[in-house]
Symmetry: none
Subunit: 148 residues, 2 copies
DNA sequence: TAATAATTGAGATTGAGTCTCAATAACAAT
DNA sequence: ATTGTTATTGAGACTCAATCTCAATTATTA
């Protein structure tokens, strides 16, 4: 379970470092995101917040998402015709994915060696990596067996 | 160098399989994409085509890009405030991407070490990798400089 | 050549996301 | 606490990439 208070504190610190303030509106958005892990898009988030009776404008939701993105609390998973899809990455252990083309199974994996190699590659370019997405598509062990 | 004729033939085949036709407009767009490798966005592509004196409407450019995407000739690298960024993947050697959160710049890179490590990781899982996508998000050298 | 079906283009339309700016809220200093 | 300073908010206007419309056009099939 994610520690809401720690989240709030960490976000406040990030804001302070940039001469910005933790307002009620930002707090509302942050809480909503931390408490319902998973993917979301800005407009749905806005509607959800409004449904709970809280008042945060669309503009503020968008502005807060930009801040949360820059601070690394959330990351962009992709963009669809319904808009940007974000996911909460705060307090979530990073992992990558293998995706079986045959059966659709998704295997999560983590490799420290891989992480370090990526860092090394970034450094070479003067690039400061914040997050990444790696998806390997292919055939899982089970499906490979079945093919033979 | 990319074989324009082979490209045309392959695209025609794809279209035929879907009961569609290779028109002059589609041909113009295809040629433009195959002959200038690299990243591009739909509107710039449209303007480039118009500059050469050829007449293809914006709508057709967008429609053709959708087709080329579905047929695997091009793939989406990312989205910026200037629109979707595509890249030609037909006959192009594989590479991965770094995406600057600040300015939207996309840096291509290739690391043999990385490819081999991924293979090794797959093997451990009994997974047979066919293709992959890696996007590292963060800040490019230029933007990091500007931040200071 | 005629019939059929896909395609085009100009401009209207959509919709995610941004911007404006006066009103308001948070913070720092006294 | 009060005041001054500065960041933030919200409603709605605005932007602009992308899609849709539909009559005119073009490619294919019979």
């Amino acid at each position: 379970m994610i520690d809401l208070n720690k989240g709030k504190k960490d976000f406040t610190n990030f804001l302070k470092e940039h001469g910005q303030r933790l307002t009620n509106e930002r707090s509302v958005v942050l809480n909503r995101i931390l408490s319902c892990a998973g993917h979301f898009d800005p407009d749905s988030l806005y509607l959800q917040i409004r449904q709970t009776g809280l008042k945060v404008s669309r503009a503020s939701v968008y502005r807060t998402l930009t801040l949360l993105h820059k601070s690394g609390f959330i990351s962009i998973v992709g963009k669809t015709d319904k808009g940007t899809i974000y996911e909460c990455t705060y307090g979530i252990k990073h992992h990558d994915h293998m995706h079986c083309i045959e059966c659709g199974k998704v295997i999560e994996f983590y490799s420290d060696e891989l992480e370090k190699l990526q860092e090394k590659i970034c450094k070479k370019q003067g690039f400061e990596g914040q997050s990444h997405t790696l998806e390997i598509r292919g055939y899982c062990a089970q499906c490979r067996k079945n093919m033979k």
